[in-house]
Symmetry: C2
C-alpha cells in the first residue's frame, strides 16, 4: 500500500488543482453555480394582459445589481382577491401583514402587490415590521390607495435588515411605468436563485365568453444563507364572488402548491395571491358547484398545477420530475401521508437520481408514514412497470425494464395500498449531488 498510497496522494493533489481550474472555467462559461438553466426548464409562454391589472418593475438595488428586483402589480377597484400563505410559525413580517389585511379587508378601491427579491426581510426583529409598513405606506401614496390595500412580499437573504428606502425611492417610477403588458417582466423581477421565470396561461369559455387566467411564480432556489420562498400571483378577468374565489383557491392549494416538495423544508414566506378583476361580462360565479364555477375552477386548477410543477422542475439540482400517485388508501389522510413520506424520503429521491427502481425504499417509506398499510397487499409500479405485488417482487418484473424506465426525465411512481378507495398525488424531484453542492456551499 505504501507505493499506491504515495501515488494516490500525488494524483489527488493533481486532481484538486484540475478541479479548481475546472470550476474557474465553468464559472466563466456558465455562471458561478453551474448551468444557468435547470435541465427541466420550461420556456416562459406569452403572458397576455388581463383587463384591470397593470405591472411595473424596477432596479432598486436591494441586493442584486444590473437586474430588476422590485415588481408592482396594481389591481383595479372591484376585484375579488384571495390569498394563501405558509403555515410556518416563524413566518415573515410581510406574510403576517398580508394575512391581517386580507382578513380585515378594510378600505375600498383596488389592491396593490409589491414584491422585492434579494432580501427576505425575515428574522429581522421589530425592524422587519417597520419595513413592511414603510413600503405599504409609500406604495399606497404612489397609487392613491390606503396602506391596508397593499400586499407585500420579500424573498432572498434572511436575517439582514431590508433597505426599504431603496424600494420607497423606486415607487414613483414604478407607479409611472405601470403597463398591462408587463407580466413577463414581473415574472423575472421576483426571481432569486430560480434558473428560469415561471408563468402559465389558460383560457376558458364561461357563458360563451372567453376568460383568461394568467399566473407567475418563483420557486425553490436557495443558496446559503437564503431560504426557499415560493411566491405565486395569479390574475384573471373572471367575474366571481370573493367568497367563491377564496373557497376554490383554498381547496385547490391542497392538490397543487401544497402537493409539491423539493426537500421537505418549508419557507417562512410562501405566498399565493389570486385576483379576479371581474371585468368579463359573463354571469357572476358565486359557487364552484355551478357549471360556470366548475369550468372556471378546472382552468384555475390547471394554472396552479402547472406553476407548482414548474417550481419542482426548478428544484435545486433536479434532473427528474417525479409524480407520486397513491391509491387504495383507507382514507384521504392516509393517502396524503404515504405520498408525502415517499416524496420526502431522501432514500427514494437519491435512488431516482441514480436511476434505480428501488422499490424496497418505497416499501420503507410506506411503512414509516404512519398510515394503515398491509405489506402483503402493496403494489408498486414505476410507470406501467409493476415492480412488486402481493408482498414480493412481481414475477413479470425484469431489472432491465425497470432500469430502462428510470432513465426518463418524468417518473411516475404508483403505489396501491389495496385497502380502500382514497387516493392522492404529490410531485417532487430527485436528489442529486447538485442539491448538496448548492446547499452545503462547502467552505473548504
Amino acid at each position: 500500500m505504501g507505493k499506491d498510497g504515495k501515488k494516490l496522494k500525488k494524483l489527488k493533489k493533481k486532481a484538486r488543482k484540475l478541479k479548481a481550474q475546472l470550476a474557474e472555467l465553468e464559472a466563466r462559461v456558465t455562471g458561478p453555480k453551474g448551468p444557468l438553466v435547470a435541465p427541466l426548464a420550461q420556456p416562459l409562454p406569452d403572458l397576455p394582459a388581463i383587463d384591470g391589472v397593470r405591472f411595473a418593475t424596477a432596479q432598486a438595488g436591494v441586493k442584486y445589481k444590473g437586474r430588476t428586483d422590485v415588481m408592482l402589480a396594481e389591481i383595479a377597484p372591484g376585484a375579488s382577491v384571495a390569498g394563501v400563505f405558509t403555515r410556518s410559525s416563524t413566518r415573515s413580517a410581510a406574510v403576517l401583514d398580508c394575512q391581517e389585511k386580507l382578513k380585515a379587508r378594510t378600505g375600498s378601491g383596488g389592491w396593490a402587490i409589491l414584491v422585492n427579491s434579494g432580501n427576505a426581510n425575515a428574522f429581522t426583529g421589530a425592524a422587519g415590521g417597520l419595513s413592511v409598513d414603510a413600503i405599504a405606506q409609500a406604495t399606497g401614496q404612489a397609487l392613491g390607495l390606503p396602506a391596508a390595500r397593499v400586499l407585500t412580499a420579500s424573498t432572498g437573504v434572511i436575517g439582514q435588515p431590508l433597505p426599504h428606502d431603496r424600494i420607497v425611492a423606486a415607487l414613483d417610477g414604478l407607479a409611472g411605468g405601470l403597463d398591462p403588458d408587463g407580466m413577463a417582466g414581473a415574472a423575472k423581477a421576483i426571481m432569486t436563485t430560480d434558473t428560469f421565470p415561471k408563468g402559465c396561461v389558460r383560457t376558458v369559455e364561461i357563458d360563451g365568453l372567453p376568460v383568461t387566467i394568467v399566473g407567475i411564480a418563483k420557486g425553490s432556489g436557495m443558496i446559503a444563507p437564503d431560504m426557499a420562498t415560493m411566491l405565486a400571483y395569479i390574475f384573471t378577468d373572471a367575474k366571481i364572488s370573493e367568497t367563491a374565489l377564496r373557497t376554490m383557491v383554498k381547496d385547490l392549494t391542497k392538490s397543487t402548491f401544497n402537493a409539491i416538495t423539493v426537500d421537505s423544508d418549508t419557507s417562512t414566506s410562501d405566498s399565493l395571491i389570486v385576483a379576479a378583476t371581474n371585468r368579463s361580462d359573463h354571469a357572476r360565479i358565486t359557487s364552484a358547484r355551478s357549471t360556470e364555477g366548475r369550468d372556471f375552477k378546472a382552468a384555475l386548477a390547471d394554472v396552479m398545477h402547472e406553476l407548482a410543477l414548474q417550481i419542482v422542475m426548478d428544484g435545486e439540482g433536479a434532473t427528474k420530475l417525479v409524480e407520486v400517485h397513491v391509491t387504495g388508501a383507507a382514507n384521504a389522510l392516509d393517502a396524503r401521508r404515504v405520498a408525502s413520506a415517499i416524496a420526502n424520503s431522501p432514500l427514494v429521491k437519491t435512488a431516482i437520481a441514480g436511476e434505480d427502481p428501488n422499490w424496497g425504499r418505497v416499501v420503507m417509506a410506506v411503512g414509516k408514514s404512519g398510515a394503515r398499510a398491509d405489506r402483503d397487499k402493496l403494489r408498486i409500479a414505476f410507470g406501467d412497470i409493476v415492480v412488486a405485488e402481493n408482498g414480493q417482487l412481481a414475477e413479470s418484473y425484469t431489472e432491465e425494464a425497470g432500469a430502462s424506465y428510470m432513465t426518463r426525465d418524468r417518473i411516475l411512481l404508483h403505489v396501491d395500498l389495496g385497502l380502500g378507495e382514497a387516493e392522492d398525488r404529490m410531485w417532487t424531484c430527485d436528489m442529486t449531488y447538485r442539491y448538496i453542492e448548492i446547499n452545503a456551499d462547502y467552505r473548504s
Copy 2:
C-alpha cells in the same frame, strides 16, 4: 466563450480520466465504496463476558463470502428479557415473530437470539414467514429450546428470498462453538455496510456488587438495494424483574435509539433486545424508583445512548456528529417536534456539512415543525456561540467565530424557544456528497 469552451472540454476530458484513475487507486487502497472506516469511527472496546450468555458466529454464506454472517446468542434460563421494535407498518417477518413471542412468553427455560446479515428477509411474501419458522425451529433443536424461545433478526438486501437452509446447516456448528467471550465476534457478524463494529461496556455497583452491562449494535449503512436496519443487543448480569426491565427499556428508547436520525427514513427491521441474566447476587431490582433501580437505569441509559451515537457516527457519509438540544418548549411533544424537524432537515444538515452556521435554516425548521414558537423569542446557539436572539442576529455574533466553531467534528446546536420548561435532545449527522454517492449509486 468559444476559446474557453474548448479549453473547458479538454480539461473536462482530462479530469474524467484522472477521476477514473483516482477511483481505481482508491478502490485498491481503501475498498470500492470509499474509506473503509467512517471518519467518526470508534474503536471497539474489550467486551467482557456476562455470566449466563454465550455467543457463536459462523460463515454461512447467506450472501457475503469470506466473513461471518450469522451470530447466535444463548441466554441461560432465568433471564429477564425486553424488546423494542420498529413501528413501521411494513415491518419484516422476523420483527412480527419477535413481537409475538415476547408478548406470549410461552415455554420456559432460556432464550436464543439468531441474527443473519446479508439478507433482510423483508418483503419476501409468505416465504419470509416460513424462513423465520425454519430458522427458529432449527435453532431450538440445536439448543434444546422450544422455537417460541428463539428470537431472530435479518439484515441486508430486501426483496430476495432468504436462503435459510444455509443458516440451518450452520446451526450445529454454532451450538458447538458457543463461548462466553464471543461478543466481539458477534458485533462483527451482524454488520452489513457498517464501517466499524459497535459496542459499549459499563459497570455499575448495585448493593456493593459490580454489575456489568455490555451492548453491541449495527447501524445505518445502506447501499442500494439495501435498507438501513438498526439492531442492538444488550446483556447484563443484573438481577431485575422482567416488568422493571421492560419499563426501563421502553422509557430509555425514546431518548436514545428513537432520538437519532441519519436521514429521517425508518427501517422495516429495527430491533433492540435487552437480556438480564439475573446472575448477580444483589437484591433484585423491581422498579426504576428504588436506589438500585435508578443506578442500574442510569448505566443502561449510558450504554443505550453510546450505542445510538455510534450508529449516527457511522451514518452514511457522516463527517460530523450533531446534537440538537431544544429548551424552552411549551411541552414535551413540541420539544421533540422541533428537535426532529431540525435533525431531519436536509437544508440544516447540508449547511453543517458545508461548515456553515446557517441559523436561518434552523429558524425555518422550527417554523415548519408544527410546534408552538414565537419568532421574536427564539435563541439559537452553535456551541457557546449565540447566533440569533430576540428575533434577529445576535449583536455579539461574528461570522468568524461561527465559521470557526463549525469546523469541529462534534457540533452542538442549541435552540431555546423561550416559551416554557420542556426540553429534548436528538442526535444526527451532516449530509454530504458521500450520502448521495452511497445512496444514488449512479448507474451512468
